[in-house]
Symmetry: D4
């Protein structure tokens, strides 16, 4: 709750337009819906105008549907992540709106707002073909939130000319999301070549001593290039969200 809101409530109280009990309730209850198994946070939507998001892992189909219905009231676009294809099959007929399900990214988008022209470019680059699902989760997230997104896949450092060939596109971006498993070296090279903030996602792609993405995570955390923002392994949503927030900050007309 912003101080101004509090001040206004107190002023209303002082003026007598509201009573103390009403003031107390206003202050105490920020908006959310209590569904017992979940407390849907409408406050975030009110505050930021961003679409609501539901993280599906560990939730039953029933719970997912109930939360989506509750979220729908906000009028914003809805995004569900880590939604398995088999779960999607179970719920798709009961979804509260027209669904766009991305099989690779495992994302579900339900649009309630018409697409507006997007400004401010985010480029998502992946080191390999196997990193594409995570890269797409980041791309879908940022795009659903309202950023313009382009993707460049399979430009890992083992054949560095493929990356350099795409540098022009990367330089046009406000933020670059670099997605890599195995050695995770893409983030360092991208970070060394660009001035923009780089959001780095380690993926669980690899085997043996990649330890499910730990190798790539450590590479990125220890990057010699400065200005690398690391998120959790396979966390496409987090990186997409961060990239969008930075893009938003730059404003609709900013140019780098």
């Amino acid at each position: 709750m912003k101080p101004e809101t509090l001040k206004r409530i107190l002023k209303d109280l002082h003026d007598g337009s509201i009573g103390p009990e009403e003031a107390f309730r206003s202050i105490k209850h920020l908006p959310y819906e209590n569904m017992e198994f979940a407390r849907v946070d409408h406050h975030r939507a009110v505050r930021s105008g961003l679409p609501e998001v539901i993280y599906c892992q560990g939730k039953t189909p029933k719970q997912i549907l109930a939360i989506l219905r509750s979220l729908k009231k906000s009028g914003h676009n809805l995004l569900a992540t880590k939604l398995l294809p088999e779960t999607f099959q179970k719920i798709k007929k009961e979804l509260p709106g027209k669904a766009e399900y991305n099989l690779e990214a495992r994302t579900l988008v339900i649009r309630q707002k018409t697409r507006q022209k997007k400004e401010g470019l985010i480029v998502v680059v992946s080191a390999g073909t196997s990193d594409i699902p995570v890269a797409l989760e980041a791309a879908v997230t940022a795009e659903t939130f309202g950023s313009r997104v382009e993707t460049v896949f399979d430009v890992g450092v083992a054949g560095i000319h493929r990356l350099i060939d795409n540098l022009d596109r990367l330089r046009e971006a406000r933020v670059v999301v670099a997605v890599a498993g195995m050695d995770g070296a893409l983030a360092s090279v991208v970070g060394g070549l660009l001035e923009q903030p780089v959001s780095a996602i380690p993926t669980s792609v690899g085997y043996g001593a990649s330890f499910g993405g730990v190798a790539a995570l450590l590479t990125m955390l220890n990057s010699c290039a400065s200005g690398i923002a690391v998120v959790n392994i396979d966390n496409g949503f987090g990186a997409g969200c961060l990239a969008h927030k930075i893009n938003l900050l730059a404003g609709p007309k900013a140019s780098v």
Copy 2:
């Protein structure tokens, strides 16, 4: 064996009411039933009046049934934890009593005592919807042991107003059980807001660098808030048991 018991046996012996061999057997054998694959500890029930518990993971349906039957003799309520639905299906017809199976918590309760009015409140809070199964294991455990239990789900720190909105209920508790996966930050925040002991359960909810609950476990062990009692990852039973023991200590009429 308590010293008084030993003294009494020795006294009986001195008085001649029992012979040395009988005394030796009394001293040596505390009560338990040897079933070869398990030695059911009746002594614990005698001592504490708590219901008997069977941890089902790694046990065959046959073993579970045999132990339940042996435990039944104590006359106490019976609790089985980590009981998979498929195992429950296999044994449910042969159970020695009316079963209450909680599908989410994977607990089985067989009541042999009528429910008495419970005193002393334990509140179980969970950070997310996916943490509910572990939270319910804690709740069922403490409730079966005899505590009064309430639950508050999905009040993680990403939308901290949901937690603050429920602070009044938490403040009424003698002990709070805080259940969280991913960043596990709920325990620190609850511990900072309350004076009561907090029993913290890290859950394996999360992915990537959550390492199956290790991230949440470390967060809780390193909590800046003091008085946080940590248990093993996903150990709802342990936290429920601890909370009940503390509640018991406060006595039926204690008020905080």
Copy 3:
């Protein structure tokens, strides 16, 4: 801030006894003192009546002194933990009161209240001689907070008769604090023999695969005995604090 306080402030405002600006300031600022490098939390003292505590690791002598002086205003006993002997030497002449420095526990106590008769016993047991410093930190903490504390040292499971010989004392306690490094097995054995809550502290005592206390920590987290409350490695303060909170809950007249 408790709801009643908020309601009262709002009521005062409604009645006109205070103006909105004043109400705003009352609501917004809970008591703490801003010293730039530290914000001393007077609210905790107001709330709980417990002595203030300062964790000295990573703080300069100057900072420690300044915080102690600020804390003194509360009128409560003061406790400083992890205070190195060399730091104590530097500040001892400027301390705001008569200091009790425990060289082994590395604790400093400044008493502002006369000792009252304490009720409710906490017993701190250690597995070895090398675990004594951590055990003493727990003991000093609980004692300074107001609990009655006894210690039993060097009763590790390698010579289990030493522990069994002291069982009577342990059974008199409301809470037992079990302190062990190396294999950390003491907590499991104590937890199996007693009904009371056990607060378990793994210590960094050991070498090689003890990994600075990790072995003992894992042992305690995986204890087969139920009702074990684990704290961080070497965290004597945390366990002492937890034990005191549980003791407090049992009330001045409770008996187990």
Copy 4:
């Protein structure tokens, strides 16, 4: 090298204004100075207008001085990080300019440009007093690069009203840098309360199972709040640099 540069060189060559050998040299050598033990990257300064930075750990006093002298030619402000006090004492008389050494942050700044009025606020918050050195490294970095920086120390979640009391200042920032050791929960709570990007620095403050900052690192990577950009443990420079780059992106006149 930007494509335009390449095109221009090629065009000059085509026009005959330069010969092939000269073109080859232009293409091949981007500006850096080879000092055998170091290759000072003047290209970065040319490209971004940011001050040059030298990471001092593992370098001899001689090497540090030589690199500083080489860097000086760029005309930019110079920043040296992780510079130990004893090393600073050894080199301070030979420094190529007026030095500002921050004993806590272990940073050295040599200014070659007059301070201009800075726009765009970055707020650095720390959980505890012991986290201040890392927080200051971030603050000095961003400030030297040209951002406006404010600091708020010791607002960890164990006394959450201290953080909430400072929310207004945090809300004014374009980017918030959250610095915390031990449980690292500050980042999650700040991330949950604010809409801005949060750059999170885990610190090595703590003991036992904090594992030199690993606990805080994992907490931050697994944060339930979205949009958290994590950097390496104790990497104040990295977070300051990232925050500045984001700030820069928002432009001199942007307002959030």
Copy 5:
């Protein structure tokens, strides 16, 4: 090859009873059978008189059968470990002899020698019911090798009177094999109570921070009791083999 053998070969050569080529071949080739995918080590059997053993994990049914047939030529008892039930079903009709398959231990024994009266007792104790499979692998191994073996299951330290009640049996053993998962504390307690060598097997029984047996492994390696011989997690074969070797050393008539 023993020195005497070498000397004899060389003497034969010197005497002219064999030629240099023949001597070279004798020296170079110790007996084993090359099956391309495996080189069956008949030398071990010749040397020690122990039955041959085949570790089945990672081998195809075909390979297992072929190796068993090759091993059979030794005339010794055959032991196969970690043999999955489904693999046993596939090969059981083609086995070269009468098979004793232990479903819990996943061991297969094919006896080629009549059972002789065994001397020297090994007692295998397990902490819980879930540890029985590993305990049985140890028991079957030592028994097949020729030791007398008894088992005592479910005597973990959470109900320590069950262990103490069986101390007499344990004291009769030459070697005790202690099998425990979770906290692994059984080995320390047994090692503290007995004078004999204790072979300790950590099992993967447990969940969460047991890390597949790592917790129990570390407990055992850090045991305060001396004379604990630790083997790999779930390595019933290794411990059984070690116990038998020690038993063998004590000779058929030794008594402790």
Copy 6:
């Protein structure tokens, strides 16, 4: 791109035989084919004359087929690794050429060049039968690239005479590839007995504290024998590739 190529392009431009736009394109685009989900690196084939390789893990059957077809244009032999049998079944009818699928090694080879007589021997030794799949991946890789390869399986150090019996064959090799799981000691012993470079592959064979190959990996990294080149766990391809590169370096006529 080699400097000579660049110089020549620049010279052509200077001479007027090509225009600046054409020169720019020549310089900027090294050959690769953009298939959106993959950028097939034809440059590598041009450069080294080695067959193209596709790592199949994490790729869909469709993607694998498309890449194989693109790679085919190079005219080189094609190698696919980590190709599951079920995936092979799906694609085998549509493969662009005659396939040699190795079920154990999970490799697919499509030959486009007639086999030439190979020179320079690589010997691949494995410690156990279960290590054969990884050993075969290395062997197939080096053989497809053009080296002569022999294999010696099941010569682990537990029966060291089997290894010593094969020393003559190992001594004939230019490079030895040593493959071992569990304790990984084979690499140290081979490295101690031979003068040649040894490429060591740890495998995930083992259980318990082998941690999926970490134990063998650490053994090999810490080998007391010098000149051991370690690759990732189960990385048969990497070791085969390395061995071939070294073999290539020695030239067609080199003899050790």
Copy 7:
């Protein structure tokens, strides 16, 4: 306490030769001396006739002296391990008897019994020169306990002929103690060559990925050779103790 003792006490009580209170005390108190900071376990000495041992790490010079004096009463030889040279200097004048301090092994022996002729050989082998201190701790321990001990140093597997040259001596031993850091492969090779039990000690010798002995520890736990008994990293005492216990079991006249 042995059952016979208990039976006798109870019989005395039954016969009236002792009263119940006296019997109770006899049963309850096994012999140990309570020094507050330590409880010296005289029971172990009574039981086993082995010398008393004091582990010095983490104990003050004062504590060490006091314990040694208490231990002296047993009349056995005394052994102190992990005793730093500087601590030895501080206490050497006040030692209760003639001290033999081994600077490399960091052991102190005070003999109270004349050396008797020892039977049953233990051979301690070390991989490198740097492993000697740990090897000596094992040797001193077993020798002080009463075993005959020989040492063979620097026979690591990188030059395996040095080990093979000493095989005859190893084959004479009842037990072999194998000591190795770095890759720890010595234990596997020794275990593969010998029939006797092998007690393996990983040492912290090494750097980088040896992780303070973890690499050698894992190698030994995963040894392909059977019958390897592993102890903690650098635990010379534990291995020496284990070897002696096994030797003892074989009896004074046993021959392998």
Copy 8:
């Protein structure tokens, strides 16, 4: 021992030119010098013509001197690694020959052979200035063994044009040694740009989540570029030795 030697000895024996005892001794004892604390392996020198090497860590000055003197007899160049400056000061007057001590690399070379013209280039590249000591250890090793070595320092991927500017020199090498701490990405980029074998050394340079070189080690093991040979953290000797062996294989006249 090579088969030919064995055959010759056996033939001599057959011919009667030597007796069986003499033959036995010849076969059994390969040349090494037993100094009790070390067994100096003269066999290696005989076999390979490489200089003898002594790893100084964990050895006393006395031991180092004695081994150097023993090694000197071989007539080869001597190399000592990881020799601390303070140890060098202690022994430098007694060294058996003219010493070249490299303070950064911590290597000592004593030449007994005149330098011959070297053929076959090895290039050692380091990512940063702090990696130079490890890079120099590799360079000194390979150079002392007889390879021609060049070094290129501070060409990490954060400013990739510095690396590309030196590609020509790297392409002339037979083997490249890539040395990097922190993110270790240099090895991947070098491996992607070159056809030659790359020997990669992770260094312990870095802080926080670099975990003493583990991050760089994992990066290198997971490199997407093929043909990367990884050695232990900071193991300059191992990589230099490996590079020299590969160089040797290519022969004095080989050209890539």
